[in-house]
Each structure stands twice: as C-alpha cells, then as structure tokens.
Amino acid sequence: MSERVGVVVFPGSNCEFDVVEAVGSVGGDGNLVWHGDTSLAGFDAVVLPGGFAHGDYLRPGAIARFSPIMDAVRDFAAAGGPVVGICNGFQILTEAGLLPGALQKNAGNKFICHPVQLRVESINSALTNAAELGAILRIPVNHGEGNFTCDAATLREIEAKGQVVFRYVENPNGSMSDIAGVANEAGNVVGLMPHPERASEELLGSADGRVLLESLLGAATTPLARSRPA
C-alpha cells in the first residue's frame, strides 16, 4: 500500500500540485489538505509546500503558523511523524518553532530562481535516509527570502548535533555556513529552501530530488511513524 502523504494547502501556496505529482512519481499517494482542516489522521507523512502562504504578510510564515492545521502538524511531528517544509514550508516551520533559525531576505536582495548544487550533510533525517552522505544533488531554488540565519549558540548546537541536512556547494543567498536545509534534533522534521519536487524527472532537467522523496516515503513506514496515535 502506498504511503499517504498530506500536502498542506495554505491560501497562497503554489507548489502543492507539483509535490502531489512528484510524490506519486516515486510511488506515494499525495493528497491535498486544506490549512483550515484540523486533522492529519490517516497520513503517514506531511509536506508544507512552497508558495506565499497568506501572502507572506508581516513575514513569510508568520500568519501561516497560526492556521488551524498547524496544531495537527505539531502533534504529528511530536509523535515522530515525518514533516517536510519546502521553501515557504521551511519558513513556516521555523516561524512555528518546529525548526531552528530563521530565513531572511537574500543577500543582495535578489529573488533567485535557478538550479543549485546541494551537498547532503546528514542522512539521519526524514528527507535523506535513502541518500548518500556527501552526495551532490542538482535541485532548483526559487525564493527571495532563503537566507538562513540564527544566533551563534544555535549554529554551534545544530552543527554539533548533525542537524544541518544540506549545504549549498555555492552559496546563492548569503545563508550562514552555506546552510540550505536543517532538521530538528530527532530528524523527523526537515526544512529546505530548494525544491526537490521540481527535480523529480529527467524531463525537468534533473531527477536528483527523487532520492529525497523516496527517503520521505521510507521515513513514513518506520515503526516510529506507525506507532503514532491515529
């Protein structure tokens, strides 16, 4: 049976159909979940897709973190369920306090939209368990506020605990320590600025994102995820 992946749709999300399609292309069962819903019952994994949730007003993710679905996302994550935030989804997870740090305006103020090379820095995460440590993946970025920042103590802590999951080979946005993606301490919540769903077929220019989506489905079938309350 396919793993059921809930893809949360906020007003202003714009990558949800791409994620559903890409999850399907690696054998998962992607389903849209409206942000006003309050339950994630029956899902094995959750993705917060890219876009401009609630118009990115105030700050990206600042309003989305109060969407009704976010309590369920928090419970799902606390129970060990895999939760991935892509781009705007990453911003929402940091605002919600589910991931460390914050994403601010790109150095140079440019909105960037092009493929980048990412290095896999940890394979102990819901998004990289099937990847190879040190692998270089070619995946597009598409953001104006992807400049990862945090205080020095947090940086030391996430580096020491192996929570840096991806680094840019060439830093496109000024992110601290070239960080492109981070996980929580348990590794089941992951956020990244690049879009693996846009690198899920050779036809799209790269299929390097598939291993990440396969990892997500793998994480969805771990005993930890299955033991969570329905």
Binding site: L58, R59, A62, F66, T94, E95, G101, A102, Q104, K105, N106, A107, G108, N109, N147, T149, C150, D151, G174
Partner: protein
C-alpha cells in the same frame, strides 16, 4: 481608554541586513556621502483599548513576542501615547 501604539520592528544587532546594505551602497551614487550603518525595519501602528498604559503595554508586548516580531532575528521597541 484608547492608546496610540507604534511598534518598531528591527533586525537584531549582528543580524545582516541586505536591504540596509543595498540602500547604503545606493546613497553615494545619488551624491549622499558619509552615510553608514543603514538598518531597515518597519513600524506597525494601531490603537488599543486598555484600562491604563501599563496594561496596554503588557498586551502589546505579548503581541510582539507571539506575532509581530520573530525573536530569532528581530527586536521591537514599543511606544505608547
């Protein structure tokens, strides 16, 4: 009583400010020399009903902590009149 509130949200010290840097680089091109330390923030203004200024301030500070600023990168300064 009704109080006028201005919340200045600004990037914490030590957090890079790409907008401020861009403005700082642009100013000399317009003939404004000698400018340094440009930092860009925002001001959120509103009115609030409260029994006194202290209560108004308490409520506004809670808004700042929970919503108006991201404490990871931002500080706030609240002015109540």
């Amino acid at each position: 009583m009704k109080f006028e509130v201005a919340v200045e949200v600004r990037l914490r010290e030590g957090i890079a400010d790409p907008q401020g840097q861009t403005i700082e680089r642009a100013l000399p091109a317009l003939g404004f020399d000698g400018v340094e330390g440009v930092r860009v923030g925002k001001v959120i203004r509103f009115e609030i009903e409260a029994s006194d200024a202290a209560n108004a301030r308490g409520e506004v500070e809670e808004m700042c902590d929970r919503f108006l600023a991201n404490p990871v990168i931002e500080d706030t300064e609240v002015t109540i009149t």
